[in-house]
């Protein structure tokens, strides 16, 4: 503090002068003798109160004027607690602001949240930029995203900061730093820096310090964001019959003493239990038979944590009816599909061998009802003798709603009885004809088969299924024979797909089952079908895609979500944990976005020793507020004159 600074502020002490004068003037009038006091009337109350108000207005104006005068003297030296850029070379600066919008940033920080404080820091940084600077804004919530590519349009940067919302995503600091460096790489400014506005709590407190080894200087201000807090969250709540199991995780510092886990329906507590004193726990809550019946088919069940912690939103979770990974149905003739040594069909063995973490369920025939098919992730049909009308209807509905079918064509499919057909996958019958093709053509193989196609060059098959030319126009080949006929093909039907193989899954028909190409086929088909069928609960921030969907509406805890139509299929990314109602082509389903476990660990990562901001910026900026204060002083002086003139006019009128 310089002498001038102290002297200027000392002027502020004179603020007591008008106050004392006011007190002296406003104090009780001194009594004086007056013989005819009995004849003196009392003053009208209105006049007395008016005088009091005028006095106070004048007093407030004078006090403010003196304070403004003191500030005016000291304003060039006033230092505010706000972020600002430093310019070592005095030139323009390229800055990437990494704003953490993960769930841990929802933690309370005084009267606000960590996220709001970080956003305020971003505003302050932007206010210290000037023309010629370039700014990029990235979001560190998982997955890391670019909120604003590097631009010199500072107003756009301010608008982008205002548009960023809190979310319950996980944290991906490293990816956001990599992206930030990429955005700054091509900018012409020599002075570059990355500013990280984050609590650094990404679930890996022992990971290398943030910003260490970065080629671009990293500044991590706002240490108050990294204070110790504790939180408990319900990661999952699954219901199986009359039992609800809730999985709860707490941060290492959290105290679970006295907290309860309650099962709530419509504001009524159905069951409750004490929260175990461990960092990760699973709590079982029983439902009575009456409650089971009452809540059957309702989506109102939720599990709640009592007490308070740093983040409130993760203390409640909707209950999801427990359903494991949906199985894959296999319809195969055990006599043809099984190897000669006996055992289960080869396709089932292959699926088990791949270790795809799916359940294979052999069924004798395609079910007649669509509901029965809806239980499966996909259906593998090996050389069927056509489909009955009921099967066709069920299969059509299944595929239209996003189901996956793998249809292997063989001699039986070519000899379908009267009334049976391969619709809705193929409109026309196929034939089982001899082939002269020596194998597959690896040149035209699609992505998944590009490597494995080479293994089918000498595919040995005496005969193959031939698809009618009309159907060929509707399908897209994945892998073809050398003569151009498809070996693997796909056809999109509604939101689902049918993959077609022109060889049956039988050892006698070809050696396809003995080649890696067959495993590649099963792997690709299974992966694709799993990608289409999203489970009911995913981590928040995971993209939900709806390939083939025409209309999509998603209603989340905070209202309707914007649907992204980039690419071939519409998709949404749930930003907040909770229950979502999704309407896809008129059909409604529910999904749950659950917290990311790593976000509950609120311990921050260390910041690199060079992230203190020396030479990059300052958290205590000197702000020249002289123009604003001088203007305020002028206004106050004008106001004081107006008040005095009015008081004089009233006195003369009286």
């Amino acid at each position: 503090m310089t002498l001038v600074y102290a002297f200027a502020l000392a002027i502020g002490l004179f603020v007591v002068a008008p106050y004392l004068a006011h007190r002296l003037r406003r104090r009780r009038a001194e009594e004086r003798d007056f013989a005819p006091a009995r004849l003196v009337p009392l003053a009208p109350p209105r006049a007395r109160s008016r005088a009091r108000i005028e006095d106070r207005a004048l007093l407030a104006t004078r006090l403010s004027a003196i304070l403004a005068l003191a500030l005016l003297g000291a304003s060039p030296l006033v230092r505010c607690s706000r972020l600002s850029l430093a310019r070592a070379s005095g030139g323009s600066v390229a800055m990437a602001i990494v704003l953490d919008d993960s769930m841990s940033m929802r933690a309370k920080l005084g009267a606000t949240t960590r996220f709001e404080r970080a956003r305020e820091g971003a505003r302050q940084l932007l206010s210290s930029t000037r023309d010629g600077d370039a700014v990029a804004i990235l979001l560190a919530g998982s997955p890391a995203r670019v909120a604003l590519a590097a631009t010199a349009d500072l107003s756009a940067a301010r608008a982008a900061v205002e548009g960023i919302q809190e979310s319950d995503r996980g944290t991906d600091l490293d990816a956001s730093l990599v992206m930030a460096r990429g955005l700054l790489a091509d900018l012409p400014q020599v002075d570059r820096r990355i500013v990280v506005l984050s609590d650094l709590a990404d679930g890996h407190p022992d990971a290398p310090p943030v910003g260490e080894g970065s080629t671009v200087p990293v500044w991590i201000p706002l240490p108050e964001l990294r204070g110790a807090v504790s939180d408990c969250a319900i990661l999952a709540a699954d219901r199986s019959g009359g039992e609800v199991r809730a999985r709860i995780v707490c941060s290492p510092e959290a105290s679970t003493k006295g907290r309860q886990v309650a099962l709530v329906s419509g504001g009524r507590v159905l069951a409750h239990a004490a929260l175990p004193e461990s960092r990760s726990a699973e709590v079982s809550l029983g439902l009575s038979l009456d409650d089971v019946k009452r809540t059957e088919g309702q989506g109102s069940l939720s599990v709640q944590l009592s007490g308070t912690d740093a983040i409130v939103s993760d203390d409640v979770a909707p209950v999801v009816v427990k359903a494991g990974p949906r199985p894959v149905a296999v319809v195969a003739d055990p006599t043809d599909g099984a190897p000669a040594t006996g055992g289960i069909p080869v396709v089932e063995q292959a699926l088990a061998a791949l270790g795809l973490e799916i359940t294979v369920r052999p069924i004798p025939a395609i079910p007649d009802r669509g509901e029965d098919l809806g239980l499966f992730l996909g259906v593998i049909v090996d050389d069927p003798k056509g489909f009955t009308p009921e099967q066709r209807r069920a299969l059509g509905a299944f595929v239209e709603d996003g189901g996956f079918v793998l249809l292997a064509l063989g001699p039986r499919a070519a000899s379908a009885p009267l009334g049976a057909s391969l619709e809705p996958i193929l409109r026309h019958t196929t034939t089982w004809d001899p082939t002269s093709s020596p194998g597959v053509n690896p040149e035209g193989a699609s992505g998944a088969f590009a490597e494995a196609a080479a293994g089918g060059i000498d595919l040995d098959a005496k005969k193959r299924a031939v698809i009618a030319p009309e159907d060929l126009r509707a399908i897209g080949p994945l892998l073809s024979w050398t003569d151009g006929a498809p070996l693997f093909a796909r056809r999109t039907l509604g939101r689902g797909e049918a993959w077609i193989v022109t060889l049956p899954f039988a050892i006698d028909a070809s050696d396809l089952l003995l080649r890696p190409l067959f495993l590649t086929l099963l792997d690709a088909w299974t992966t694709e079908s799993k990608a289409r069928a999203s489970p009911r609960r995913t981590a928040v921030g995971t993209m939900w895609s709806f390939p083939g969907a025409h209309t999509l509406e998603v209603l989340g805890p905070s209202g309707a979500l914007p649907v992204s139509r980039e690419g071939a299929s519409p998709s949404v990314a749930p930003e907040a944990i909770g229950l979502y109602t999704i309407a896809v082509d008129g059909k409604t389903e529910s999904r749950v976005a659950a917290p990311v476990e790593s976000e509950i660990d609120m311990r921050p990562r260390r910041a690199s020793s060079s992230a203190g901001g020396e030479g990059l910026g300052d958290a205590h900026a000197a702000v020249d507020a002289s123009p604003a204060v001088a203007l305020a002083l002028l206004v106050l002086m004008a106001l004081e004159m107006a008040l005095r003139l009015r008081a004089r006019a009233r006195a003369e009128a009286a």
Partner: protein, 302 residues
């Protein structure tokens, strides 16, 4: 340390002291030569009519006026006989007020006028008596007497006067003074009352007017300080009455006119009651020249 009452009773003489000297100067300024008797009453020369008051000598009741106008009037005559002067000085607490622009307290100014009147009367050979309204307990005034010693006694009594007593709260003060005056004042005597009339009881005007009977001439002189007439205060003031302990907080500018109206009404009421009974009423401000006021009183007493 003196008590509050001690401060109150210390009369503020201001520039009016010494009373004896000032009274002579005032008296010399007044025409005090041979004069026609201002006393009306039994005599040979008709002096006019006045309204009848109970106690008047029925011999002077004008029967002709009664028959012609159905009004009770008393005939008055001028006489050449000596006239007794009875001075009544209000010495209640309110008379201790001086205010800005006044040469002294109202009581001091009234004492000066009273002393000057006594000097004039004694110079004319008329006896002079002095009575107080209120004042220090035990100050009985001066009985009616003539000669040089009478003036000295009157002046000595006035110099020792102090403003004390609350006539508004203590009705006995008024009764005691007026009762004694009615008994002792002879027919044809002149009664001069010097008072501010501010804190007297409501019935005081009637009681004073009743003295103006039996040929007595009553001249009531209202003595007010300039502040009491002009009400020159500004802003918010807290005013304490000298009698009754009343405290009033008010905005001076906002209430000045209403105060003057009330004061004018009080004065008007007194004047109306007194003149209806044959008494005279004189207004005086302590900033005024006492010579003129004494002359005005003398003229009113004729």
């Amino acid at each position: 340390m003196p008590s509050n009452s001690a401060f109150r009773s210390a009369l503020d003489w201001g520039s009016l002291a010494p009373l004896r000297l000032r009274a002579r100067l005032v008296a010399e300024g007044v025409y005090a030569g041979a004069h026609r008797s201002a006393r009306r009453g039994a005599g040979v020369e008709f002096g006019g009519h006045r309204a009848y008051s109970p106690g008047d000598d029925l011999r002077w009741l004008d029967r002709r006026s009664l028959l012609l106008h159905d009004r009770l009037l008393v005939r008055q005559f001028e006489t050449e006989t000596d006239r007794a002067l009875r001075l009544v000085v209000d010495a209640t607490a309110s008379m201790g007020y001086r205010g800005a622009g006044a040469p002294g307290a109202k009581l001091a100014w009234a004492a000066l006028v009273a002393a000057a009147l006594a000097r004039i009367a004694i110079g004319s050979g008329d006896p002079v008596g002095l009575t107080y309204l209120g004042g220090r307990v035990g100050s009985a005034g001066v009985p009616g007497s003539g000669g040089r010693e009478a003036f000295e006694r009157v002046v000595g009594s006035l110099e020792a006067a102090s403003a004390e007593g609350d006539a508004h709260a203590d009705l006995r003060i008024l009764d005691r003074t007026l009762g004694a005056l009615a008994r002792s004042a002879r027919r044809g005597s002149i009664v001069v009352i010097l008072s501010d009339l501010l804190d007297l009881p409501d019935a005081a005007a009637d009681r004073v007017a009743a003295i103006a009977s039996r040929g007595r001439i009553v001249v009531v002189t209202q003595v007010l300080a300039p502040d009491e007439v002009e009400f020159p205060f500004g802003g918010t003031v807290r005013l304490r009455s000298l009698e009754g302990g009343l405290v009033v907080e008010t905005d001076a500018e906002a209430t000045r006119e209403r105060y003057k109206e009330r004061l004018a009404k009080l004065t008007g009421d007194w004047e109306r009651v007194l003149t209806a009974r044959g008494a005279r009423f004189v207004r005086a401000v302590t900033s005024a020249d006492p010579v003129k006021v004494v002359r005005e009183i003398a003229q009113a007493a004729r």
